[in-house]
Symmetry: C2
Subunit: 207 residues, 2 copies
Amino acid sequence: MTGDPTRPAASGPSRRRGAVLEEAILRAAADELLESGYPGLTMDRVAKRAGTNKNAIYRRWPNRAALGVAAYRRLVTARTQPPDTGELREDALTLLRRINCDLSSPEGEILRSLLSSVGDEPELLAELQEQAGDGGSAAWLTILERAVARGEAPPEAIHPRVATAALTLLRNEYVTRGLGSVPDSVLVEIVDEVYLPLIRGRGPAEG
Amino acid sequence: MTGDPTRPAASGPSRRRGAVLEEAILRAAADELLESGYPGLTMDRVAKRAGTNKNAIYRRWPNRAALGVAAYRRLVTARTQPPDTGELREDALTLLRRINCDLSSPEGEILRSLLSSVGDEPELLAELQEQAGDGGSAAWLTILERAVARGEAPPEAIHPRVATAALTLLRNEYVTRGLGSVPDSVLVEIVDEVYLPLIRGRGPAEG
DNA sequence: CTTTTAGGGTACGTACCGTACCTTAATATC
DNA sequence: GATATTAAGGTACGGTACGTACCCTAAAAG
């Protein structure tokens, strides 16, 4: 095990600098995140894995939490494209299933542990939320707007808090139940018993 | 500063045992929680504050998280009695304001940090949830049932996930926004834009 | 070629968890 | 009342990890 693909085959003392080194550190940190989760992410191991030392890390990120957030960003590249099935119920379910899948994946667990560990650093928290939770907010508004255009939902339904209500309830399941993924029946229940009735209830009040 | 009110004025070597010592430890841990929050709760400091040593603690609780949960229990004694204003909207707002108050209190912050730190220990998590979040679930069902009895809400509205939807949205605000309390306008919005429309929408579908 | 910048190596200081070991006081048992 | 047992006190330790300091050296800038 002498060949380290991340370094140019130590023929001579080739020392990485700047962006190259930064990338190597982030790669190492992201790999550690995947293997051990955020609680298992240690500065020493990241430094070792990146083939550098803690100095280089602390020159770029002030502490472990900041590195964790930065490394997590490398893991989540996919942007959530809103589905378009022609029916609001199907759109909502699809979106919810997708998010459930994301949240129950290893990356999702990492995200959750990160979220819980940076609660006292608002900057990092905001950065995380930007990448994860609220990124989906736009998608929910989109499917709702399409439903309105089809006449499937009243225009009064278009409201950020309403649009993302299903997402919020799903997130709550994760907070409440701890580990593992949320069963599909719960997703269906959220859509049929809460989300759709809510949309309906925001229409013009019946006599 | 020689007088320590928690110990009988070291006249002779009076050694506390059993329940007395346990209470002293829990008091010390609860005080530390209030002063420094859960992240600042350390076994050494609790031992010192209780006038004992870590041995006595570890003989009772297996680790720091368990002690934290046990100590938190000492801080939350009040049980949530459901309001009864005669109107669903007022009941919901009152309940929501009460919970907002609880969550934004120092105890609420402790609860949140605890919740985030014991995510991997399902037993402790369940114990915490029992004391805090789901304790309110019954209250929400109660005010909803009363509204149904008054003819203010359709009987179909009685559903656990529906009843606690407002609570869930409020909790989400805390998770999303980090520190501080949630402004009252948000509570009103949750009730008027989500909770009440949801209740209405679960009535018999019009035309 | 010299100066500046930034990475490498390493050793610390500190904090904290959880454990081990022995001593000693308080209770239980005879 | 004497003795055995239980549990608390005191203390030191091993282990881990964060964050810092120092000095040396390679790479880039001038």
